[in-house]
């Protein structure tokens, strides 16, 4: 893998006395599918929000697509896509209206927006639902739509925060196919998940416990290192010592 698109060095986030993210240092290469694992409350979302420019770090450094997370948040935002844990497309707009709106906000031309609309509706098989309000379509479709909109402007990196939570296994499989396609087109994928089978799909994974990264390697190497046969066991081994959680 060539160039590193995410670089962090001793990145910290404190809320008062509470250290949500404690000195994390890692790099992600262009085109990589990077799994960001950890128990609930481990600090994954907080770390991800810092990388997206939604939250200012307390200390440490990080660059995203070559831009600094303190000073160049707006340039970062041009180059990334983000899909939050909470579904956040406009439920009172239709599928097409959501696509047009976010396309417009990212500065796509009318021509591009029109093409993207047709392409997405086709790809997602949403022909019958194109003019329905997003609030009325099933969760699985919503998540796929949200992902498509997050990469609408062809960003360098896309951040996915538990994109498949609450979604059925078949839709999850389709979702991961979409992730692979995006990765093939050169988009770096940064994804958090609680499904260990999904962790196996990643090129490399990191495992966060109580705000710091306890392990970082390919799934195969991690299993070898912890003498485990599945990623589940690796997770248990590492997360058992966690003091935080809900």
């Amino acid at each position: 893998m060539g160039q590193q698109v995410i670089k962090t060095n001793n990145l910290c986030k404190r809320f008062g006395d509470f250290i949500a993210v404690d000195n994390i240092t890692f790099e992600v290469a262009k085109g990589e599918i990077f799994g960001f694992l950890g128990a609930n409350g481990a600090g994954k979302t907080t770390a991800m929000r810092m990388l997206c420019g939604l939250s200012s770090p307390s200390s440490g450094t990080a660059t995203i697509a070559g831009f600094d997370v303190y000073r160049q948040t707006e340039q970062i935002k041009k180059n990334i896509g983000y899909m939050s844990q909470k579904f956040s497309l406009y439920e009172d707009l239709t599928v097409l209206e959501n696509i047009s709106f976010f396309g417009g906000i990212y500065g796509l031309s009318n021509r591009q927006i029109k093409d993207k609309r047709e392409q997405l509706i086709d790809q997602l098989g949403l022909k019958g639902e194109a003019k329905k309000l997003v609030g009325s379509i099933p969760l699985g479709w919503k998540q796929k739509l949200a992902f498509s909109i997050a990469i609408l402007h062809e960003p360098a990196i896309v951040f996915l925060d538990e994109p498949t939570g609450g979604v059925d296994p078949l839709t999850r499989r389709q979702f991961w196919n979409m992730i692979y396609e995006a990765a093939d087109s050169g988009i770096t994928i940064f994804v958090t998940t609680h499904y260990m089978d999904e962790a196996e799909y990643c090129n490399r994974i990191s495992l966060m416990v109580d705000g710091s990264i306890k392990a970082l390697d390919t799934p195969a190497n991690l299993k070898l290192q912890y003498k485990a046969s599945t990623m589940d066991e690796v997770f248990y081994e590492l997360a058992r010592g966690a003091k935080r959680g809900d």
Partner: protein
């Protein structure tokens, strides 16, 4: 500029899709403008009076019929002792007690003087004050009648009296509706604009869509403008609707320039919407925004000069009302609609409200943070 177009398109779609809010925004001002001015009347009528007539003479009867014939009073008790009459006050059946003493007629005729006793229930201050004053003037009137009758022979002996005649400018018939309608319209425009904007950004925070916006390279002032413009248009529509009702129902046509009126309202709306947006950027839930807006609305309305004139407020309250945008709109509306004031007369208000608009909106943009 293109970004704003997309923001406006989205905002208008959401507004027009929310039928119940849209209906409320359009129907509420019409209904309130029709109902409120009829009820909000300063004129006090139906004052309940209890009379204790200890004299039972023709003079006392004349006085009582003069009082009831005035149309302001309703005789609700005819008692034999002050104690009984007091019961009426305690039971809230009487606002005033008039006691006519023994020998009322005899003393009046023989000794040229007599005293009457009036007790006022001061729980409802306005009613008590006005009731007392009305009753006083009726008795004075009656007194003049008697004096005229008794001294009619001695014409040259008459005491000189100053007669006061006043003429009412701008609202010749002292019609309270004409006075109230512009003020109520000002409040309606303020409430609709203020609440809709206060709840708007905070709603995006609640449902989480703001997160998706914040992660885009959108400019902060574009976002705020995208929120400001739709509600500004809506506010002007409501205002136009209100002027229509004022004309159709009350026959109120602005004496001054309509263009000037719209010009002031346009700038005023920017200030109020900016204030709503500012609150929205500070709050995390719609409930918080609602309560904070409510707090300010109460102050704006009660200290805005609609119900009680600002001139008669204590100095500290006058200072507070200088920071109350609503007071400027009420004042200017009355000036332009009733008095026909021109641009020069309202320059001070126009500049003040313009400064408000500028400060509040800049503050809202500053306080809207894409990165926490």
């Amino acid at each position: 500029m293109r970004t704003i177009r997309f923001l406006l398109q989205k905002e208008f779609r959401q507004i027009f899709r929310n039928k119940s809010i849209l209906l409320l925004v359009m129907v509420m001002p019409v209904i309130q403008l029709i109902v409120l001015p009829l009820a909000a009347n300063y004129e006090v009528r139906n004052i309940n009076i209890a009379v204790i007539d200890n004299d039972h003479s023709s003079y006392s009867q004349q006085l009582i019929s003069k009082i009831t014939a005035s149309g302001y009073f309703r005789l609700t008790g005819y008692d034999y002792s002050f104690k009984d009459a007091l019961h009426h006050i305690e039971a809230d059946k009487a606002d005033l007690v008039l006691e006519i003493p023994h020998g009322f007629e005899r003393n009046l005729v023989r000794e040229n003087s007599q005293q009457l006793f009036i007790a006022v229930n001061a729980i409802n201050g306005t009613k008590a004050n006005l009731g007392g004053a009305y009753l006083g003037s009726i008795i004075r009137d009656y007194n003049d009648d008697i004096r005229l009758r008794l001294t009619s022979q001695a014409k040259f002996n008459q005491v000189p009296v100053i007669q006061i005649t006043s003429s009412n400018w701008f609202n010749v018939q002292l019609n309270y509706r004409i006075f109230m309608v512009p003020g109520i319209l000002a409040i309606l425009v303020t409430m609709i604009g203020g609440f809709l904007t206060a709840l708007n950004i905070v709603k995006e925070k609640e449902v989480g869509t703001i997160e998706q916006i914040n992660v885009t390279p959108i400019k902060k002032h574009h976002f705020i403008l995208g929120k400001l413009i739709p509600f500004w248009i809506l506010g002007n529509v409501v205002f136009t609707l209100g002027l229509g009702v004022a004309w159709a129902v009350y026959g109120i046509v602005p004496q001054g320039s309509l263009a000037l009126l719209y010009c002031f309202t346009a700038i005023y709306l920017l200030a109020v919407l900016g204030f709503g947006l500012l609150i929205s950027t500070y709050c995390d839930t719609q409930q918080q925004a609602m309560f904070i807006m409510f707090f300010f609305m109460m102050i704006f309305i009660l200290m805005g000069g609609l119900f009680t004139p600002i001139d008669s407020m204590p100095d500290w309250a006058k200072t507070v009302s200088r920071f109350n945008p609503l007071s400027y709109l009420i004042e200017v509306m009355r000036m332009i609609i009733l008095k026909g004031s021109g641009f020069r007369d309202i320059t001070r208000q126009l500049i003040t409200i313009g400064v408000f608009a500028l400060i509040l909106n800049s503050w809202a943009i500053l306080n809207y943070k894409k990165t926490s």
